[in-house]
Amino acid sequence: MSALAVASLAKRFDGVQALDQVSLSVADGEFFCIVGPTNAGKSTLLKVIAGVHAPDRGTIVLGGRDVTAMPPRARKVSLLFQNIALFPTMTGFQNIAFPLTASGIGGPEVEHRVREVAAMLKVGHILDRHPRTYSGGEQQRVAIGRAIVQPGDLLMLDEPLSNLDARIRIALRIEFKKLHRELRQTILYVTHDQVEALSLSDRVGVLHQGRFQQVGTPDEVYHRPANRFVAEFIGTPPMNFLDAELAEEAGELTLVGDGFRLPVPQARTLAAFSHLPRRIGFGVRPEAVRVAPRETAATPLRGEVLWLERLGGKTVLDVRLGRAMVKAVVPPDHPVRAEGTAWLGLTPQAHHLMDRDGGAFYR
């Protein structure tokens, strides 16, 4: 049974369509990441699921119960807010205990459970203080404590790492993974950071303009993106896109473009093969671009390196190929170490052939 099933959800705010036909099913115990740029509708989706906002259309089913019309407190969900939202007038203890005390639990059980959660999150020593005296990381941990002290059917985390500095961010990222393993809770995690999404989740949903562009495993969205938006949003640097004409040369399907001529024999295996247009686009991941200092069988295309970005662990090259620009990622000790002529090799994949106008990849 799925822990969460959302169907055809729509929500409009002040003339902006924040959510537009959002459907989603999350399995019990799954770690699901919603990733997308700012204003994609990510926070709105969480708040609609939590019941803070009512949807204009659509249904929300949690653990088999239709909660669409239920008030937030009846839904058995937890939400860690993007701006943390700890109660400023209460101590850390009172904040973590809030879900228990608000639902009428009292006495030694509260004390016991709050201490237990606080120990797990290593905030036991700051429970008597008020949130304004906490550091960013402490605030975040106490807020997590509040979200998990009373386990519900679904734990939602809205950009839980965005307000923290890089060091704490990486430490907490691993802790979310641990937390998920220990609690075995269904987690819906929102982030704009694709690295976070890919590294944490069982499945990823890429949200843009209130719609899911693609839902799949991190591998699927990275290697087989559904459209140009996903291909550009997932992966740094983003996927390269080149324009070409699809031609048949000596019985072989070939992509012919400015400065290149590349065979794509597997294009025949595509279901869409019979109606592929002549004018076509295709994508290549920067990691899949071969670069060499001289012409070889694997690197037959002449290009010009315009810019080198040394990032320590890797080097990013900006190469001009014909009229197009291609980014390539190479190891730091790669023989091409300066601007100037270089030779490229590309092997287009059939599932990276793209509708130039619509931006969808052919399948």
Binding site: V77, F81, P88, T89, F98, P99, A102
Partner: protein
């Protein structure tokens, strides 16, 4: 602080405090020093006769009979009744105004009740000069028998201060992130309880500051107090205006004595909530 700035501050304080000084000073002056030229800055013959006339008219008459040159002004009733009436009306109207103001402000801030322009409609109530509505109000109030009653003035004051309450309190509630209430609702509370437990403690200072502001408005109101009463109810402001004698015109000393005493409740209220006042009046005081 530069010398120029010190000078400006000194000047501002002089302008602010001069009326208070003059009020207090006049309240202790014998009647021949009230309006002389050159003015008497600080009397050399201080008297309590002005205060006696206000609070103990019987005693004032006895003193006047024995002390030569003392003011002999015959009023039948003391001002205690006026202080009691003003206290009842101003307090009740302030509580109602702030109570309704808080509820309306919460509704407007969180649910956008009435739409984008609704808060401005409240302001239009204040744009009417009260003098323009006072005549119809007198007619209506007589008709519904609210004239010269406590509820009558309380209703009038509540209605006229409500726009201030709503606007001020709304700005405080707007400062509190809505997510705090959302969190309280997700973790087990209904909307009203979430507001009362989470948001209200954060805007307490603002509400008290608003209450003080509204109380001052009510306490010093004159037009309605005069026109919506016929003598059964007398507020402090009306009582002050009553100190007029046929022979010597306005009794400035007596009016000053009453004025001095009537500022005391406001100062006391301000002092009691002073801790909240600074926080309440400095917008954006809530740490996010």
């Amino acid at each position: 602080m530069t010398a120029l700035r010190r000078l400006a501050v000194a000047l501002a304080m002089l302008i602010s405090f001069f009326p208070i000084y003059w009020l207090v000073s006049t309240s202790f002056k014998p009647h021949d020093e009230w309006a002389t030229f050159p003015p008497v800055w600080l009397t050399e013959r201080p008297t309590l006769q002005n205060y006696r006339i206000v609070f103990a008219p019987e005693l004032a008459r006895e003193v006047a009979a024995t002390e030569a040159g003392s003011l002999d002004y015959k009023v039948s009733a003391s001002a205690w009744k006026a202080f009691a009436d003003s206290a009842i009306i101003s307090t009740a109207a302030t509580i109602l105004s702030v109570l309704f103001g808080t509820l309306a402000a919460y509704s407007i801030s969180r649910y956008r009740t009435g739409g984008e322009n609704y808060p401005f409609q409240f302001l239009t109530i204040r744009m009417f000069p009260p003098i323009a509505v006072v005549v119809p109000m007198v007619v209506v109030f007589s008709f519904v028998r609210l004239s010269d009653t406590y509820p009558g003035l309380i209703i009038a004051y509540t209605a006229f201060t409500l726009p201030f309450s709503i606007w001020m309190i709304r700005s405080f509630i707007d400062e509190v992130p809505e997510d705090l209430e959302s969190a309280a609702m997700i973790y087990g509370m209904g909307p009203m309880k979430a507001f009362l437990t989470v948001t209200l403690p954060l805007v307490k200072g603002g509400i008290l500051a608003t209450a003080l502001f509204v109380f001052i408005l009510n306490w010093s109101e004159f037009l309605f107090a005069l026109t919506l009463t016929q003598g059964k109810i007398v507020t402090v402001t009306v009582q002050v205006a009553n100190y007029v004698s046929a022979s010597s015109g306005k009794l400035y000393g007596v009016q000053a004595a009453m004025g001095t005493v009537s500022t005391l409740p406001v100062i006391l209220f301000g002092y009691l909530i002073q801790k909240h006042l600074v926080r309440g009046l400095s917008f954006g005081a809530i740490k996010r």
